[in-house]
Amino acid sequence: MSDFLQMGLTGLSLGLMYALIAIGLTLIFGVMRIIQYAHGEMFMLGAFALYYWHAELGLPYWAGVAFSAGLIFCLGAVLQVVLFKPLQGKNILYSLAVSLGLVLIISGSGQLLFGTTTKGIPSAVSGGMLIGGAYLSYERIVISAVSIGLIIALWAFLRHSVTGFAIRAVAEDPQTAALQGIRTDRVHWIAFGIGSAMAAIAGCMMGTLLSIVPTMGFLATIKAFMIVIMGGLGSVIGALIGGLILGMIDSVVTTTISGDIAIILSFVVIFLILVFRPSGLFGQNWD
């Protein structure tokens, strides 16, 4: 029983972190209709920003998370204005090429700037507790709580704030939103910034729990895309559910069978979802 509880708790914490990365990606796609392949690089840069703030300079951990989120928000907003805005309305392949170029530039520069050794971010908390025989570290509890809090905050922001309404309106129909007086350019860079900041916070959380290297963004992007496709492009709730499904598969199947089978099963689940719901679990038809 405790084994299954352990798997469940591990899967839950893993899924929430996955969801945090994927939600940023789905927000960017939902608003701008671009494939942001460099999303994982925002995740990596966010983790390194916290590393230098907290591990190198010895400054407070949570202020470092806020600094990282703010920094990457600004970077995302600048990238949107400088690189992606001119491509608006053009074939999606252009933005795809730009974001792939960004992946190579940021990842390569990261190795030059940060070095190639694996680094660790000291945790803000230590210790843990037993729940029904299963161990859960305070670190994982805090990270899961932060993930849940951020997802709720984003949901509330999109539902109840004026900017959130504007973002949803642009995601729904950019032309009509513009006719209603919404400044779509502004919404685009805000959404891009928020999405990037979410990735940065996820990078801070996962970087603290695990370890960080300049190449860590690639896998984050892959996982985020798997989740977004599963949950439905542009759907925040879909990203949450998709993240939890992937986290559970990773935990339960790896523990009971093997990691290889977990990867295979993850893709089998994605294929099945796409066969029965081509737009993903909660996605719209973007055709």
Binding site: S126, M206, S211, T254, G259, A262
Partner: protein, 407 residues
Amino acid sequence: MRKTSPPLLMNRRRLLTTGAVALAAPAILPRSVFSQTPKTIRIGGAVPLSGPVAYWGHSTAQGFGDGAAVINAAGGVMINGEPHMIEVIDYDTKGEVADSRAATLRLVEQDKVKYVYSQAAASTVGMLQVTEPAGVLSIVACWGYLDLFGKNYPLHFRAETSDYEQGFAYIPFMQEKYGKDALKTAAFIGPNDQDGTDCHASYKRLMDYYGITQKSAEFYNWEDTDFYPIVAKTIADPPDFIVTSPSPPGITASIIKAARELGYTGPISSPAASETTTILEVAGEHADGVVLPVTNVSPSTDTQKAVEKRFMERFGTFNALAGNYSWWIYSLKAAWEMAGTAEDTKAVAEALAQVQLEDTYVGRVKWGGEKSFGVARQGIYDCYTTTIDKGVAQVEDVRFPALPDDY
């Protein structure tokens, strides 16, 4: 009366003649007549300088860069009384087979190198596709892909003492430290590729030799980040100790952290991590009870201190792994001088297999494995075993592997 020669006058005809002879001379006379600099031996590096195993690649490249500078400053390699300078050319393989093959082709065909060094399994596999058919001698750190090693690859040397040979130093050490009865069972955690599979075979052979029962063997994907699930599975039936081979420091640290958080208290040995900073940084207070064979974190001899000092001055950084790789180039130097040639790689290979160095960063070094692989091409050296206790890493044991007679 002293006869004096008339002064040599430089008229136009003589000037033109002298100029023409000077211009034609390089084409007529042998090149050596004009050579002011010694001959050069080129060593190529097909190493991962970016990507997940770049840390290993940089550490290896630093050893060759430093060694070449030291040897050149001391007058070079003396082959039959003639000095030869060493030039090192490095290309990035990104840790990929295809990139390594391309880098090695460039080294062999364009740069005309006859000696290539490499690092880690993927780069070694790509490199070997080029070096062995081209008659190029290769020297690498690679533990897996044992079918690409041995008498069918007579020019291929594996300088880094593998997890198997290390075992004949660290297992006896652990048995002395923890007691034989406390180490009756073990579990293996490694990557799910050929490297991991081969290292598991070596580990199994080692455990069988010492009569230790294997409880489980788990294999992770290189892309895995959270090791909670795989560690939970490993310690479901807790082994007396865990071996994480051939996992790099970052992954090893994540495995250690997960194991300790999930309540596992036994020793964890990591033959490949060879680095303590990352482990202490990532695993934090959970790093206690970690055993790192061939990891000398406290240079103590004059040679070791000199290596550390030079690396710090030259590269601004030093780690135990870079120290481990610093002897390779000196081994080659000894082989060139012993063989009396740098052109005949077969003769150099035969000489290299005979080389023994007494005072390197890793202590005593020799090549072995004749009975296991058919040729003596495996580097074996003193194992400086570091342990971590209360957050402090220190060398706790130094011994040469007590290899079995049939090795």
